[in-house]
Symmetry: C2
Subunit: 236 residues, 2 copies
């Protein structure tokens, strides 16, 4: 086939699809059109996982639309095993949410069953070579979804509405320390001011943020873009 892989180790592949027709179709296609080695196939995620543990393939082609255990959780589980298996997700349609979630949990590629066989082979080639591959069309859809989620989630408050913008420099510093779970005494020490001064600042913060206690102030800060060492969190 294309791209001299003859001298490389042939990538070993496991294919997972609950539809046996599709499964054998893809298997044949790969065996005919490429140099890859289909070492096993599975029609359910749970079987697939034990096969993966057994054969340690380089690549797994995983259908996402399966009953019982769905493909996404299967991918998550396989990734958690940390066997270095590179998973390519496979579906019938380009639902951006599916694409987003698959890539998020670690899929190294995503292709549609409707795509040409050459595209499939190319994707496997790329992923086997250590890259992450999304066809341009899917990549475009992914980014639309990606950006939409940020638009919606991020700027739900305008600058005037975001009460954090009314805090003074010092109040921000105090609040920043509070969002790290530090007590008033600790804040006082860190900022080299007295504890009563901290209390004064804190009370002003409460007024400005319209909250009643430390926990609420911290929550307000975190939910409204207090740019700390904040962690990335997107619910699956």
């Amino acid at each position: 086939m294309r791209r001299g892989l003859e001298f490389k180790k042939k990538a070993r592949i496991i294919i997972v699809d609950d539809n046996y027709e599709h499964l054998s179709g893809i298997k044949e296609l790969i065996e005919i059109e490429s140099d890859f080695d289909v070492v096993a196939t599975a029609t359910s995620a749970s079987v697939a996982i034990s096969l993966i543990k057994k054969y340690r393939p380089e690549i797994v082609l995983m259908d996402i639309n399966m009953p019982e255990k769905d493909g996404l959780t299967a991918i998550a589980e396989i990734e958690k095993l940390d066997l270095g298996v590179r998973i390519i997700a496979l579906t019938g349609y380009d639902d951006p949410d599916l694409i987003f979630r698959a890539m998020k949990i670690g899929a190294k590629g995503y292709i549609l069953k409707t795509m040409a066989s050459a595209q499939l082979i190319y994707a496997i080639d790329e992923v086997a070579a250590g890259k992450i591959y999304l066809p341009a069309a899917l990549s475009s859809r992914f980014f639309e979804y990606f950006q939409k989620s940020f638009r919606e989630e991020n700027q739900e408050l305008s600058d005037e509405e975001n009460l954090l913008n009314y805090l003074t420099q010092r109040e921000e510093e105090v609040l920043d320390l509070l969002t790290q779970g530090i007590t008033y005494k600790g804040v006082a020490q860190k900022l080299f001011i007295s504890e009563t001064t901290v209390k004064t600042h804190v009370n002003n913060i409460f007024q400005k943020l319209q909250v009643n206690d430390r926990t609420q102030a911290v929550l307000y800060a975190l939910n409204n873009g207090f740019l700390n060492r904040r962690k990335v969190k997107i619910a699956i």
Copy 2:
């Protein structure tokens, strides 16, 4: 040029680059190789913004590496204006963090200055057509970064390490209410139990999470996957 745009309205473009050499280079290239209409150029972000307000171009080519006001904040500001301008980011190197941040704040494309001119024209074509365009190489880098951030941030704690898993049902309920900024009294009312019972639960929670106060417990919960109505937050 390629792709019959003759009958379409020619896309109007503004180019922003603090390096005048580059600026005129790109300008010439676009004027020669494509049908697009370069309506203005700017060597600073602030000038660019007023030009954009004035000319309302379809496309903006924005260099990211600029002194003074940097390109990313400029993009954010332009996006905030919500003029329907589609921004393509432009840099010398493929720093994945830059790519990630640019796409996050709404860039519709990202290309390297080192890329062939045909690639640039193609990118503009695609973006002008309403798509989001990232060359395969950059897309790959983006996803590596994207996935790494999730790996690091999400499963930094194993199930045994995540102290939240040692909480009982009831303790979880209490903690959940605490993460909503509710006081002990409020929790007692919501759960139809006495306030002293709440205190008992809370103290047990503190023991299990190895923290000393309510705020720290809430922070621990939020940072370790207490899957609430939590918002998507990634610091720019």
